[in-house]
Assembly symmetry: C2
């Protein structure tokens, strides 16, 4: 499905963030060295990353900030709006629904769902939490491309199956459990307890 | 600093989660195949992952659920309590402070800090938000091993520098910006907008 490595996509996304800051400050060109220092990498790596997508820079002159950021936005699929639904309106789901960073980059929350009647009807930054029974009907109508799921672990796989059956092709999972999706569907997981465990592993296995 | 690959630590953490469920259901042994299906990997990979840490299973009998989970907890540094502070009590920070999954695995939130006087004094699941000026004093007193930072991008690097100077050795960053730490300090980043961009990249570059 992916033609370039995820680590490259990750760096491109960081370069874009830096280019946008640079653009806001009125700069017109940027060197691969400046991009590298921001992305925590090397000039050679920056040139290699960008070479995947054709020729951008001019030797000695650096990259055009506006041209490069426009290209990166297109490469990353950010030249358009993505409709996002959030399933699960607990603390994590509610925080996600109100996260400004999503909207700023073209990800629009078009629906939030929960099974708990105490949460249904609440407003999260202008989006009302709806009953999860409305999920299939809404997906058919709103055609969200991306679903964020923030439900208890045991509810996650049946929910993913429902979403996939309804036509959702990209899922970001916050439930602390491994999930499976069929080919053609992209699934990513953010597991905060697991991130902490990787830190605790590093602390107990520190050399010093 | 790390002796085994992060991807291995990630799988060990998933195996442990599954073993704990299995233990709760009263099972005493588990095969590498059962662990593999849960971790989204193969039996051979499971055996290889566990072989890093000595011999656990008996051929044909599988692994002892209780012995293996005890060993994994020890390997992952979970046999103890870790004190965690959270800096930034906005929506993300507040959600983190109240996330039950942390406490269940031995990560105790001992302090939450913010610079915004409107947030200082609020109670988040029994922990009161304190003024960020108290950070250094509290770190000296409470000796948190891990800091979670959920502050605006431009505030993140100066904050990390303060934390490192105070003696914090592991940081989980939720600010959408790359950060640097000196050798001997472990930094991990969770960037939700970036996760969405990786999904949007996959959507626009889908083969079908």
């Amino acid at each position: 499905m992916k033609r370039i490595a995820e680590s490259t996509v990750r760096r491109l996304s960081l370069y874009l963030r830096f280019l946008e800051e640079f653009e806001a400050q009125g700069h017109q060109t940027i060197s691969s060295g400046e991009l590298a220092s921001q992305g925590g990498t090397t000039s050679a790596q920056v040139r290699k990353d960008l070479s995947f997508f054709g020729s951008f820079g001019k030797r000695g002159l650096g990259y055009s900030v506006s041209a490069l950021s426009a290209s990166l936005r297109e490469i990353l699929g950010l030249g358009r709006q993505w409709n996002v639904i959030i399933v699960g309106a607990g603390k994590i789901g509610a925080a996600l629904a109100q996260y400004k960073g999503f909207r700023e980059r073209g990800f629009k929350v078009v629906g939030v769902y929960d099974t708990d009647s105490a949460r249904v009807g609440r407003s999260l930054d202008g989006v009302h939490v709806k009953d999860q029974r409305e999920l299939e009907g809404d997906v058919a109508k709103l055609k969200p491309q991306i679903a964020l799921i923030a439900v208890p672990a045991e509810a996650a796989q049946p929910l993913v199956d429902r979403l996939v059956k309804s036509g959702v092709r990209a899922i970001l999972n916050f439930a602390p459990t491994p999930l499976t999706v069929p080919k053609g569907v992209t699934l990513r997981s953010v597991n905060m307890a697991l991130e902490l465990e990787i830190l605790s592993y590093a602390l107990v296995n520190a050399d010093d």
